[in-house]
């Protein structure tokens, strides 16, 4: 007991009214092994201490980022949909709508390294090598114009990087700036005259009203009726005409998809099902892929992938089929959708 400061003990005892009396050690648990501590203790500190061996350069980072990160964070770390933007926002912190990114806001590079290594990619954490983590972080820095394209990140170069907002934080000062001010308990005549409404609620009803399940239920069977008819008539192997030039454009767009979906010779299921032959295929029917229940049900109800259904799905995957497991925000541009459909057609010969 003597090792605790007196003040601390007083607070602790006052608050912990029903706390058990401090006793001798109970001898519970067992000693952690060095290997166990090493496996879990991955902390990296702002001064770079505890960084692992390894290194990664910007060019490698661009490739690794495109493979594992761009589906949510965009090819240039600019963010897709509601997913976090990792680049940009410099000098916006005092604006009305500040953009907080690794470059504009994060004070320490160690935080980025630590978070990528422990928690990314989303859904497949701790699958990257330390070299890949170094490379991804190097690429994020490059996307924020914080390093040149020939930069290699490692233990040795870690502290060479200047984080623009490193001095942008101060420790909680509410005890000085707020607590002494917020003490007045006025009971009568607290405001001059009657009050007026200055702001009314923006979302008046149910905030989820926009995303109705009805739309999904009615649109999916309707689309499938049309699609099912020609498939029955034409039992021969389907050959689909496609525009090669447009398909080539679509291949570029497909970069956003390929972290999860494979296509082409020998393509196998990954995070998402392989997409060879997706054209005119019933939804939820690739062998060996574990689909969501809603996707299986939609397929059984007749949902077939064609220009109309794929366009709808790719524009807004979550609303189109509620509860499906594709974690992709959707393609914003019609031209991108058109192109990627042409690309998928080209792999459905």
């Amino acid at each position: 007991m003597s090792k605790f400061p007196k003040v601390l003990m007083a607070t602790a005892l006052a608050t912990l009214t029903a706390a058990p009396a401090l006793a001798e050690k109970l001898g519970l648990g067992r000693a952690a092994t060095e290997a166990e501590v090493a496996a879990w203790d991955l902390d990296v500190f702002p001064d770079g201490s505890n960084l692992p061996e390894g290194s990664g350069d910007v060019f490698t980072g661009e490739e690794v980022f495109a493979e594992h990160c761009a589906v949510c964070h965009g090819d240039f770390a600019e963010g897709v949909g509601n997913w976090p933007k990792l680049a940009g926002g410099e000098d916006t912190l005092a604006d009305d709508d500040p953009l907080k990114t690794v470059g504009s806001y994060w004070p320490y590079l160690s935080t980025t390294f630590d978070y990528v290594r422990r928690s990314m990619p989303f859904g497949n954490a701790q699958s990257l090598s330390n070299d890949d983590v170094y490379a991804i972080v190097a690429y994020i820095l490059y996307s924020n114009y914080l390093v040149d394209d020939d930069f290699t990140l490692s233990k040795e170069t870690f502290l060479d990087v200047d984080m623009p907002n490193a001095d942008g934080f101060f420790v909680d000062d509410r005890p000085e700036t707020e607590y002494p001010v917020f003490t007045e308990r006025c009971m009568e005549n607290c405001k001059p005259g009657a009050v007026e409404i200055t702001k009314t609620v923006v979302f008046k009803g149910d905030p989820n009203a926009g995303a109705s399940a009805d739309e999904v239920e009615t649109s999916a069977p309707a689309a499938s009726d049309e699609a099912a008819a020609p498939a029955v008539e034409d039992a021969a192997p389907v050959t689909v005409a496609f525009d090669a030039e447009l398909a080539e454009k679509g291949e570029k767009v497909f970069k956003k998809c390929k972290a999860c979906h494979k296509v082409g010779e020998g393509a196998k299921n990954g995070v998402g099902p392989m997409l060879n032959g997706v054209w005119e295929r019933a939804a939820g029917t690739v062998d060996g892929f574990k689909y969501s229940k809603p996707m299986m049900a939609a397929g059984e109800d007749g949902l077939v992938w064609n220009a109309e259904t794929l366009s709808g799905y790719l524009a807004d995957p979550r609303s189109y089929l509620k509860g499906n497991k594709m974690s992709f925000a959707g393609l914003k541009k019609d031209a991108d959708i058109e192109a990627v459909l042409e690309f998928l057609k080209s792999h459905s010969q």
Binding site: L26, G29, R30, A31, P98, D172, T198, V201
Partner: protein
């Protein structure tokens, strides 16, 4: 696509359906019938026949008529439901204890399934002996049971920019209050031994979870030894998976993000880690672009849960119960005031029982409503002398770019029909 106005009208009706249906039924029951109320004068099925036997539901669920009392999310707030939040239906609850099944959720990598048999807790860093505990080990330490609120730092965050969402559930529902059972963090740190840490002033513990997000946070040693708990029960039963089954950290009065779920590691160190959750998130940007960090405490706050947008007055003029919740991360609630006129005059409400430190208090104000419009506000006071500020007072200090720690006074505009809407007033 289709007729969106018809759709949103329908949604609005569906949104209020639960409350309105209840009101209609009660109104009918209260009305006088010449021959008397058939619910009284006629023998009802339930009075003649038999109900369910025991064990009809081995684990009891609320009766079907309460199926609107559920957590709700706001789909467009986050990119997906895995790293997302939903809200406690505080508008429909009373008392102070939040049932686990409707206590809000906030995950960073989803709610994981972790068996007790697979659970391990490591204590390492500046301790005499780095240790590993199993779940069974934790149950053999001397135990404590205490009640605390947990509030997400982002509760009411949407409302910084003005009145946004229409309902106490959405504006103030990232809070719950449970009775936790577990072991004090101090007990476990003592077991590993703190001699190796030397002078404990300026030392930290880093806590992290077993899920993919790990959600690591640095906590000053003083707090760790004061009142933090390693909890494995809530409201008497095992934690729900969405709240960290089998073991979570309890950090009384401090922002919910620090209450690490699926707690797997506690490290004693001489400096904070400066993790993602304590730098890029959970920091508060001021008007000049600089940001407060380590804003751990949740300041005193209150909310009228009924009447409120999801709980309109359906009985017309006359006796009306105004009720709500108040809490403070700095201590116990000592009083709550309610204003019917948007903050010009205030009257003290009744506390259901004396405030407990860092736990929810329930307040009531019983009035005779004359049917005129009201601007309902509540204001909490705690035992440090703090008085809950207005949103304007907060904005004066912090500007408009803050997200977290919005504990400003909320206003509900109640019209003559008894409908309530979220507003801000002069």
């Amino acid at each position: 696509m289709t007729d969106s106005s018809a759709k949103s009208g329908a949604s609005r009706r569906a949104f209020l359906k639960g409350a309105a249906a209840t009101g209609a039924a009660l109104g009918a029951a209260g009305a006088a019938h010449a021959e008397g109320d058939p619910l009284i004068t006629e023998v009802q099925d339930w009075a003649a026949g038999l109900g369910d036997g025991v064990d009809a539901t081995p684990y009891g669920m609320p009766i079907e008529f309460e199926d609107h009392v559920i957590r709700r999310t706001v789909e467009w707030l986050t990119a997906d439901t895995i790293s997302s939040i939903n809200f406690t239906p505080i508008h429909a609850l009373d008392g102070t204890i939040t049932p686990q099944g409707c206590a809000f959720e906030r995950h960073h990598s989803g709610a994981i399934t972790l068996r007790k048999e697979d659970y391990r807790l490591m204590i390492n860093g500046m301790v005499d002996t780095p240790l590993v505990f199993t779940y069974e080990d934790l149950e053999r330490f001397p135990r404590v049971t205490r009640t605390f609120f947990l509030e997400c730092a982002a509760n009411t965050g949407m409302e910084w920019a003005g009145a946004q969402l229409n309902g106490a559930q959405y504006t103030h529902g990232m809070i719950h209050n449970m009775e936790y059972t577990g072991v004090t963090l101090r007990t476990l740190l003592e077991e590993a031994g703190l001699d190796a840490a030397g002078d404990l002033a300026g030392k930290w513990v880093y806590v992290e979870g077993a899920d993919a997000s790990s959600n690591g946070r640095s906590i000053p040693m003083e707090k760790a030894l004061d009142d933090c708990m390693i909890a494995f029960k809530a409201n008497g039963e095992a934690l729900r998976m969405e709240h960290g089954y089998p073991v979570r950290l309890v950090v009384p009065g401090w922002e919910g993000n620090m209450w690490v779920k699926w707690l797997r590691r506690i490290e004693v160190m001489d400096k904070p880690v400066e993790s993602r959750e304590e730098t890029s998130k959970y920091t508060d940007t001021m008007a000049d672009g600089t940001s407060r960090k380590w804003t751990w405490t949740m300041d005193a706050k209150s909310i009228i849960t009924s009447p409120s947008p999801q709980m309109p007055i359906t009985h017309g003029k006359g006796p009306l119960v105004i009720t709500g919740l108040a809490w403070s991360g700095n201590g116990a609630i000592t009083a709550v005031d309610v204003s019917l006129d948007g903050g010009v005059t205030w009257q003290e409400a009744r506390l259901a029982e004396p405030g407990k430190p860092m736990a929810l208090s329930r307040f009531y104000l019983d009035i005779d409503w004359d049917g005129s419009e009201m601007f309902l506000q509540s204001r909490a006071m705690d035992d440090t002398g703090y008085v809950q500020p207005t949103k304007a007072q907060l904005r004066e200090v912090r500007g408009l770019n803050s997200i977290y720690h919005n504990n400003g006074i909320q206003t509900w505009h109640v019209n003559a029909e008894g409908e309530a809407n979220n507003v801000e007033v002069s």
